[in-house]
Amino acid sequence: MSPLLDVRGIAKRFGGLQAVGDLSFQLEAGEILALLGPNGAGKTTAFNMIAGYTRPDSGEILFQGRNIARARPWTICRAGIARTFQLSKPFADLTVIENLMVGGFARSRDASAIRDKAEAIADFLGMGRQADTEVQHLTAFDRRKLELGRALSTEPVLLLMDEVVAGATPAEGQEMVALVRRIRDRGVTILIVEHVMKVIMALSERVIVMESGRLIADGAPRDVVNQPEVLKAYFGEQYAAARA
């Protein structure tokens, strides 16, 4: 069976900076794959190329066998890929339910059915009681959960998540990890960009590591974090040499 997502040699240059150079990896259905790398490694650029927010200079992105490289974000959403943003971007003057309804129109025209689904998602997030609250009155963490729920409202096959627990307390982080797991258990494949090691260890079976726009490691989280290239990328040459 071909992989759900097959990234083939995508590259992106911003002026003099080769943000991503010839990046290839594959994602199987049902996986939670974490994308790691130090700041400036090109994670976000790679993420945005898959989501359609940045156009790759070259390469192909095959989703369910179809090339979506250079497609626009709304087309990619309708193809079955949803995303969250690193800084959550809720529709501040709409209520929680209204926020969760917007994405439903990508799959249906029946506003009443869409509202039912939005209510189910609100309950799934544990936000049922805030259903009619305007989002500007929510806490930062609730907005983050809402961001996740809003992505789910488009009924994605693949969910791209940019930093799920940034700024969250440890307890909130745990809640988020549990939520992401439950989403995967419902049959959604997940690609996650994350810095917090604990989250990655708890969630993903496989991680890929980027450095200077290239892939330097691919494997189980435990193995990858001990690879010299990865240590070098995060801690510098000397640290890696000292451990060897």
């Binding site: 609100a122 799934f124 090691m197 260890m201 079976e205």
Partner: protein
Amino acid sequence: MTTARPDRLRSPTVPRPDEIRAPSLPAAPGRRPRDAGTGFGTLGLIALMTLAAMALPLVVTDSYLLHSCIVVLFFAYMATAWNFVCGYVGQLSIGHAMFAGIGGYATVLLFTGLGLSPWLGMPVGGLLAALLSVVVGYPTFRLRGPYFALTTIAFAEMIRIWVENTDTVLGIPLNGAAGLTVPLRGESLAALQFNGKAPYYWVIVGLLAGALTATWWLEHSKLGFYLKAIRGDRDAAESLGISPARYQLVALAISAFMTGIGGGFYAQFFRYVNAERLIGVDLSIDMALMSIIGGQGTVFGPLLGAVLLAPLAEITRGHLGGSLLGLHIVVYGIILMLAVLYLPKGLIAPLRSLLARLGLLGRGGRR
């Protein structure tokens, strides 16, 4: 870093293909009550207000008073049409009068040139206005920032100046700055000409009811949700399957259509159109200000704004205009500043919470 134990590592469970598409989320335990009938409450309110307004000429027989009511409702209609796109998508148009101008000129010219009844001329004018709106909106809605506002004002002023300086184009008489008059046919329903004011009043009440109903529909429709999402955050909207340019264009075309019909009504009511009044920036600003001060992005906000501001303009113009020219603009400016400072959501916001406190609106009574 290397000490983290993957103790919670689990083997991936690959879902069956039929599970992949729609993650069936658990059903909500204990349904929440729906917004206590907000939707039909709003529609009911529109119907009630329309019926009450229709009865007014039976009580008010004074011609000047009825004339003033028609002017107020005309502005309410135009502001509601403006709000249909600008209020919901958060874009500012300062050139909406160009759509009114096209509608007004088309209605008059189709009547004088082809003998077409204004009842048909107005919707044809509306369609032409919608066509123009696509020309304006197509290149600008792709851009972010203030380009739409700048483009609308530039287009409107170009058209106004061109019309003011053109006597005939392709054999069609535009009559330059002097404008066009509608030839008198006496009392005639087909020609939309009446001796009394009441029939005009009923027509504008009907138009306003239609515009309010369209806005109510928008609130609950896919288009409305999409516009509010674009207003909230364009990137997030795109990630939810929304092409901002496409849906903004659809809304603008509908808004321009309504505005064009309004221009046609103006032409019939005053039996006269000219570029300065109907295409000029004054009308555009009136439409925008009444919406913003009343409460843009709501069904009744623009109506409220027009009901408060249009008479104010009449009074300051009528009673003080001779001695203090342009005073109404100063008054407008002061009200706008106060509204932006203290009631950024418009005058409708405190009214709404007052009604809610009195129990006249349901729990979800946000409209």
